[in-house]
């Protein structure tokens, strides 16, 4: 017999039949069986059970709804507080920059320091930088599925190294400013820079001499690599720009840093 059939067939407690058989055979089964006090008590217990379960369920529903609401409320208020604090941070940063500038321009030593600060800011990527330079746009071969015809992190690394080599002062890839510790990596099908994944095409902006950088780039190892890549279908274009604005990199926590000997 199937399990479900069995369950359906024995749905009434077998003891009822058993006990009534006993009663019938012992001869005292003339009186019809009536529910008495015990049944009343059990049914009362059943009633309490049902009522309690219903009350409990509705109470729990109320509680969970109210706790969800209070959580949402908390999220909202915390988010607002966070926004306010971030605004305060930005304000204070601006304030610091203004005060520092006004303080430093007062003395000759201060002006010296100011110059050094802005030069270091450009080199380390900690300040936004404006200037002329070149823009290199690279992209996969059109409509390809072959990974060899796609731009990969090592290709970008070689290009960037080539640009540093020919005197770039500041470089950004798709708006991600490169610092001394910026990683350029493959992550799945995308290239990540500063742990942000980028979309094709990749625009590498480098501030430096627009007249010489482009031509000299092709003589570097990185430039040579890209000439080869171009010959197998990848796109590679160099344009000069009169003025570009590269954003500041996110502040990095420095573990150890030393200023380069001798100035450029």
């Amino acid at each position: 017999m199937g399990l479900l059939d069995y369950v359906a067939a024995t749905s009434i407690d077998e003891d009822y039949a058993h006990v009534s058989e006993l009663r019938g055979s012992s001869g005292s089964g003339d009186r019809p069986p009536r529910p008495r006090v015990a049944a009343l008590v059990v049914l009362a217990v059943f009633g309490v059970l049902v009522a309690t379960a219903a009350v409990q369920t509705s109470r729990n529903a109320e509680e969970s709804a109210s706790s969800r609401e209070s959580l949402v409320e908390q999220v909202r208020s915390r988010r607002a507080a966070l926004d306010r604090r971030q605004e305060t941070i930005a304000e204070l940063r601006r304030d610091i920059a203004v005060r520092r500038a006004s303080e430093l321009t007062g003395t000759a030593q201060g002006r010296d320091l100011q110059a050094r600060l802005s030069r270091l800011g450009v080199e380390t990527g900690s300040t936004a930088t404006r200037g002329p330079g070149i823009r290199v746009v690279v992209d996969d071969a059109p409509g390809t599925t072959d990974p060899r015809q796609k731009v990969q992190a090592p290709d970008l690394q070689k290009l960037v190294n080539g640009l540093w080599q020919v005197g770039a002062e500041a470089i950004a890839i798709n708006g991600q400013r490169l610092t001394a510790v910026s990683p350029i990596r493959d992550a799945g099908s995308a290239v990540t820079v500063n742990f942000r994944s980028l979309r094709r095409p990749y625009t590498v902006s480098a501030i430096g001499s627009p007249k010489t950088m482009g031509a000299r780039l092709l003589d570097t190892k990185g430039g040579q690599t890209w000439v080869t890549l171009q010959s197998i279908g990848l796109q590679f274009e160099i344009d000069t720009e009169e003025a570009m604005l590269l954003p500041a990199a996110k502040p990095v926590s420095l573990r150890s840093a030393r200023e380069r000997e001798g100035r450029r």
Binding site: S11, V19, G47, V50, A53
Partner: protein, 110 residues
């Protein structure tokens, strides 16, 4: 008659007192209610069949509730509480349905 009075009394008592269920008992209450429902429908069918017995009803009610709660408790401890409660609900549900069908046949003769 006495059964209806008992039931009414119990529901009123539960609604008036609104006893708070301790947190550790909370997950077992619904399954206990379903098990009790099965015992009650079984008793009603037995009554209509003319084989009702007080003692059997009491025993089946108590044991049904306890065993159902115990199975779920055991399941919780073993990490299969959800599945076991589903199993218990399915079996008890089938029993309730077939008992109600038998009761319906008694009342409507159909």
């Amino acid at each position: 008659m006495i059964a209806a009075i008992g039931l009414l009394l119990g529901v009123l008592l539960g609604l008036l007192l609104q006893p708070t269920v301790p947190a550790w008992l909370d997950p077992y209450l619904p399954i206990a209610v379903v098990a009790a429902l099965d015992a009650v429908f079984g008793a009603l069918r037995a009554f209509l069949d003319g084989i009702f017995d007080d003692k059997v009803f009491v025993v089946s009610f108590v044991s049904n509730v306890l065993i159902a709660a115990l199975i779920v408790y055991l399941g919780d401890k073993l990490g299969v509480g959800g599945q076991l409660s589903t199993g218990v609900i399915v079996v008890l549900g089938i029993r309730i349905f077939s008992n109600v069908a038998a009761i319906r046949r008694h009342i409507f003769h159909a």
